[in-house]
Point group: C2
Chain length 613, copies 2
C-alpha cells in the first residue's frame, strides 16, 4: 500500500503544507477554517448550504425549508443551467454540495465543477486524468463530493481519491488506493465523520469492483493529508489495517461463513480470495453511538455455488460480511455489528443501498434505527445500536426469491428453486429461472428520502424481473467474475419505475406513483410537503408528500439519475439537480436498455426557483 | 460526378418511389403534400411555423409576433430543454425549423433531431455516419435544415446532402456531391427556391472548403430525388453544369481576373485551379426578379501574391467571383450579377455573410436592395435587381485595411501596407502587419436581423484585430492552403462582441451593446420591439430594439452561437435556440480562444415562453 509505507517525499510535504496553510491545527487533527464538523453535523438543519452526501450524517435527504411548497411549486422554473462540457456525457449520478454561494458537483469521467450558485458561471473545473484501462462495471459515474475545511474531496474511476482546494480547484493531495486494473474503482461520495472518542475528523470512503472479484474495503483517512488511518475489508477472515500496521481480521479469522477448500493455498474456496462486499456507496454516521454505518456489497462471484461447499447448502455459508449493513468503529475500523439482508446472496442483491438513520417512538420508547430498501425487494428497519433486526417487509410487487423475512431470526425465508441451479452434467450454462427483483434491484443505489413531517420514506423503486442462469467461471484478474447470465424483463406493461411512500413503522406502502421508465434518481423530501425526484425521460418532478399527487414537472432534456438538493440563497429557496442519462440500466438492462434508448445522453446542472412576481 | 453519370440503381429507384409516395406529381416537378412553396414564401408572415433558414426567402429573421414584448420579456423562462446527447458536443450553430408541432434542429457532427415542440420529447434522431477523414475548417458545425413536402434536408461534413422523411427520420435520398478528402464539406443550411420561369421548386446548397483550396460551387437539385439540375462554380473561367452537361463557364472563359502563368497546364496561376469562392452559407431568393442571391467565399489561398502576377498589382486581379455577392438565375445557374466587396481579398474576408433582402423608400422610389455586413467591416446596401452598389459604410471601429468604399465605383479605397507583404529574399515568412478586422471578421457567419418596424438591422459584430503575415504555400490535396499566418488579438479591454443596430439608409450605427466575449450567434427581431441573440458566455438575451437596453437574459450553461427563432403554439409565443459552444473562435481565435476557454461545451435545444399566471 504505497500511501502507508512510502517515505515522505517533497511532493507530499508540499501538499501537507498547502493543506495546513489553510487550516488550523487543533487537538488530534487539523480543524478547518472553512467547513467545520459542526457545519456538517448540522447540515440537515441549516438551509444555506448542503455539505454532505445525504444532507447530513443521517442521510435523510430532508430539508426543513417550505418556501417552495404544495401551493406554489407549480410556478417553479429554471434559474439557470450549467453544461459539464468536454464532449463527455453518460450518466450523471451526482449529488451536488452548496457552500458559500458555490455549487460543487461531480460529473461523469471523474470531473468536478465549482459553479457560482447565483449565476451558473463556472468558477473552476477539474478533470482527473483517467487511464485507458479503468473497469467501472456500471458506467463512468460519480455520486458526489465531500467538503471539509478548505478542501473538497471526490473519488475517481481508477480507485483514487483527490482533495482539491475548494476555492481554486488545485490538487492538495491525491491517493491512489487500489489497482484499477484488477477492477477497483470509486464511484461513491466520500463522507466526513468525527470520531467521538478521539475528536478526530476522518474522511471515510469505500471501494467498488464486486463484479471483478476484488475484496471490498472501507477506508478512513486524515482529511488534511489523505494518509490512511485504517482500512477494513468486508470479507470474513481478511485482515484489516490500522495506522499502517495489520490490525484485526474481519470476523472469525477462519471465516466459517465461507467454505474451505484444502486444495488451495488459502485453504478456502477460490471465491473467498475475491469475495466482494465492496462498500461502494456512502457511509452514514451515528454521532450518538459513534458508529459509521454503511452497506456492504454482493459476494463475488454472483454464482452461489462457488461460495458453497460442493453438494452443500448455500444457507450454511452466509459469506459474511457481504450483502448486509455494517456498523464500524471509527477509532479502529473494527466491525461493531452486522446485519445481513441476503445471506449467501445468489442474486447480486448486494447490501449497498443507503442506510438512513431515523428514530421513532414505539410503546413510549424511542427506537434508534436504520432504514434500508434493499435490492432484494425488502425494506428493513434495524436497530442501529446493535444491528438487531426489527422488521422487514416488501416494498415492491411480486418478490419471488423469498416469501418474507422471518420476524424472529431476521433471515429471509427463501423460495426453493430460486437460486439459479448449477449447469447439468456436461453443460456450461445452467437452466434459466425467472427471478424478481432482478439483480438491478427493487431499488438500486438511488437514495430515498425521509420526511420528518410525515414519518414516511420516499423511494424510487422498479418493477421488473429477470431470466437468470449460472455459467462456468474462474477468476482471472481484471475480468468480470460473475458466473451468472441474465436478461432483465418487464414485469408490467404500463410501468417500470414506481415512486413509493413507505411507512417504516407500519410496514406499509402509503402511496405509489408509476413511471414508464426505470427510476434511478435520488429523492428529496421537504417541509413544503413535497417530494422531488427525477425521471429517466428527463423530468424533475415534485409530488405531494402525503398523497403522491404529481404537482409539477420540468423537462431537462436528458434523463435524470442524480440526487436533487435544496438550499436558501438571498431569501429564496432553490432546487438543484444534475441531468444526464446513463448508469447501469442502459448498459445492463436488457429490455430496459431498449426502453431507454430514445433518451439522449447529457451532462448539465440545473437550478430552479420560483420566479419573482 | 457520380450523381450525374450513374445508371439508375435499384436503391435509387426505391428512394425515388419513397419520395413519390408521399408527394403528388404536378407540373414540372413533384409538389409536396406537406410543406408547400407557398408555405415557405410566406414563412415570415405565418407565426405557427419556421420553415426556412433566415425565416423566409428574404432572410430577414423578423417575426410579426408581439405576445412577447418589451413589457413582459422579463418574465420569459424556459419551457423545456432537449439534450443532443451521444457524447458529442462542440459548436451548435443551427437555426431550428418548426412545423406542425415538431422542431427540427441539426446538431454538431451531422446530426438532425425531430423534437415534440410541446414537450421536448424526441420524436426521432438521425446521425449521419461520418468518415474519419473529414476536413471542416471551423468546427464540426451545421447551420440548419430545409423542409419541403414531407422531406427534411441537411448537409453533412463529408460534402453530402441527405433528405429524410420528416415524420420518420428515414433516409429518402442521399447525395455525396464532392470529395471530402480534398477539403469539401457542407455546413450551411440548404434552401428552397421556386423558379418563377419554370415553376419548378429547387433545393439550393453550396459547398465549403476554401481553406483547402477547392473550387466553391453552388448546386440546384430536384428536391424529391436529389438529382442535380445545375452546378455553378464561383471561380471565373470554370465550367458550370446544367442537366448533367457542361453549360457555360463562369464569367470570361479566359478569367482575366486571375493571372496567367504560361508555365502551367491551365495557363493560369496555380491558385486559379483551387480558387475558393465557396458559397458556404445559405441562399436568399428574390421572387420578384427570380434571382438566387448568395455570398461567395474568399479566394484560395489567402496569400494575395499567389493570385497576383509576379511584381504586379493585386488591384489588377479581382479574382472573380470570390468575396462578393452573386445573383444567380435559378433556371440555368448562370450568374446574373455580381458585386465584389473585397477585390483580390488578401485578408480572408470572404463574401459569405448572409444577404438580407429588404426595401426602402428614397425620393419616393422603392429601392429593392440587399443588405450585407461583411467580414471586412463594411455594411453594404446593393441594388438587388442588378447588383449595383448603393452604399457602404463601416459597422465596426478602427478598420485599418481600407479608408472607405468609393461611392462612385463601389470599390474599397485600400490603405497601403495592409496587404501582408511577401517574405523578404531568403525568408519563408513575411513581415507581420497589424490588420483590423482580422480574418474572423467585423462580423462572421452569424446572421443579422432586420426589423420591419424600426427599419434597422441588428448584428453581432466583434472588435478585434490580428497580426498577419505571409508564408510559403504550395497546393497539396487535402492540406490547408492559406499561405498566411495570424494571431487574433483584442482591440479593447472591456469587450470583443458588440451588438449593433444599423440604419442601412442613413449609414449609421444607432446603438451598441458590448459583450465581453466574441458574438457568434444569429439575431432575431420581433414586432414585440425586441431583438434576441445569444452570447459566448451562455446567455440568451433580449434587447429593446429601439434603445439597445438589455431587458432580459437566461443562462443556458454553454455558449450560444446559433440562431434564435420564434413561433406561436396553442396561443402562446415561444422562443427557441440551440446552446453549445464551439465554432471558429475557440479553434482559430488566438487570444480569444484563451478568453473563451472557461466556456463549457454543450449540445441542447432550449424553448422559452412566458409562464401562465
Amino acid at each position: 500500500m504505497p500511501e502507508i509505507k512510502q517515505v515522505k517525499r517533497p511532493g507530499r510535504i508540499k501538499a501537507l503544507c498547502l493543506a495546513m496553510s489553510v487550516s488550523l491545527a487543533a487537538g488530534g487533527n487539523a480543524v478547518a477554517a472553512g467547513v467545520s464538523w459542526e457545519d456538517i453535523v448540522n447540515d440537515a438543519a441549516t438551509t444555506e448550504d448542503v455539505l454532505a452526501y445525504g444532507i447530513g450524517p443521517k442521510a435523510q435527504r430532508w430539508s426543513p425549508m417550505d418556501a417552495i411548497n404544495k401551493d406554489n411549486v407549480k410556478r417553479l422554473l429554471p434559474a439557470w443551467s450549467f453544461s459539464f462540457g468536454d464532449e463527455k456525457q453518460r450518466g450523471q449520478e451526482s449529488q451536488a454540495l452548496v457552500h458559500d454561494g458555490t455549487i460543487y458537483v461531480t460529473g461523469s469521467y471523474s470531473r468536478l465543477f465549482a459553479i457560482d450558485a447565483r449565476t451558473g458561471e463556472r468558477k473552476w473545473a477539474y478533470t482527473y486524468r483517467l487511464p485507458d484501462d479503468i473497469r467501472p462495471c456500471c458506467d463512468v459515474v460519480n455520486r458526489g463530493a465531500a467538503i471539509f475545511g478548505d478542501l473538497i474531496y471526490f473519488g475517481t474511476l481508477d480507485a483514487a481519491i483527490v482533495a482539491l482546494n475548494k476555492d481554486t480547484g488545485k490538487v492538495v493531495w491525491k491517493k491512489k488506493f487500489e489497482n484499477h486494473k484488477a477492477g477497483y474503482t470509486m464511484t461513491g461520495a466520500p463522507t466526513l465523520v468525527k470520531d467521538q472518542k478521539t475528536g478526530k475528523v476522518l474522511l471515510i470512503h469505500g471501494s467498488s469492483g464486486d463484479e471483478f472479484g476484488v475484496i471490498g474495503r472501507l477506508y478512513a483517512r486524515d482529511p488534511m493529508t489523505g494518509e490512511e488511518v485504517w482500512m477494513r475489508p468486508f470479507v470474513e477472515g481478511h485482515m484489516g489495517r490500522l495506522n499502517g500496521e495489520e490490525s484485526t481480521p474481519t470476523g472469525d479469522p477462519d471465516a466459517p461463513s465461507w467454505p474451505d477448500d484444502p486444495g488451495t493455498e488459502t485453504g478456502k474456496v477460490e471465491a473467498w480470495s475475491h469475495g466482494g462486499g465492496a462498500p461502494w456507496q456512502s457511509a452514514s454516521f451515528d454521532v450518538e453511538t459513534n458508529t459509521i454505518i454503511i452497506g456492504a456489497g454482493n459476494p463475488a462471484p454472483w454464482n452461489t455455488w462457488k461460495r458453497t461447499s460442493p453438494g452443500g447448502n448455500p444457507q450454511d455459508y452466509d459469506n459474511l460480511y457481504t450483502s448486509g449493513q455494517v456498523g464500524v468503529d471509527p477509532t479502529t475500523g473494527e466491525v461493531k455489528w452486522f446485519y445481513q439482508h441476503t445471506p449467501n446472496d445468489a442474486w447480486d442483491f448486494s447490501g449497498n443501498n443507503e442506510l438512513v438513520l431515523f428514530e421513532y417512538d414505539e410503546n413510549g420508547e424511542t427506537i434508534k434505527a436504520t432504514a434500508h430498501a434493499d435490492r432484494n425487494g425488502f425494506f428493513y428497519v434495524v436497530n442501529r445500536e446493535d444491528g438487531g433486526f426489527i422488521r422487514g417487509f416488501p416494498f415492491v410487487d411480486n418478490i419471488t426469491w423469498a416469501t418474507h423475512i422471518d420476524p424472529e431470526t431476521g433471515r429471509p425465508v427463501e423460495v426453493e428453486g430460486q437460486r439459479p441451479p448449477l449447469p447439468a452434467e456436461g453443460e456450461k450454462r445452467g437452466a434459466s429461472i425467472e427471478v424478481s427483483p432482478p439483480f438491478l434491484g427493487g431499488k438500486n443505489w438511488n437514495p430515498m428520502a425521509y420526511s420528518q413531517d410525515t414519518g414516511l420514506f420516499y423511494l424510487g423503486a422498479n418493477h421488473w424481473k429477470e431470466d437468470y442462469w449460472t455459467e462456468e467461471v474462474t477468476y482471472t484478474e481484471g475480468n468480470a467474475y460473475l458466473g451468472q447470465g441474465f436478461r432483465i424483463k418487464k414485469m408490467y406493461q404500463d410501468h417500470v419505475g414506481v415512486l413509493r411512500a413507505v411507512d417504516p413503522v407500519k410496514g406499509e406502502i402509503v402511496w405509489s406513483h408509476k413511471e414508464r421508465l426505470p427510476l434511478w434518481a435520488g429523492v428529496l423530501a421537504t417541509a413544503g410537503g413535497l417530494v422531488f425526484t427525477g425521471t429517466g425521460d428527463g423530468y424533475l418532478k415534485a409530488f405531494d408528500a402525503e398523497s403522491g399527487e404529481e404537482l409539477w414537472k420540468f423537462q431537462t432534456g436528458s434523463g435524470i439519475i442524480s440526487c436533487p438538493i435544496t438550499w436558501e440563497m438571498d431569501g429564496e429557496q432553490y432546487i438543484g439537480v444534475a441531468s444526464g442519462y446513463g448508469g447501469a440500466v442502459p448498459l445492463w438492462g436488457g429490455d430496459m436498455a431498449d426502453l431507454t434508448k430514445p433518451v439522449s445522453q447529457g451532462g448539465s446542472f440545473w437550478v430552479f426557483k420560483i420566479p419573482k412576481n
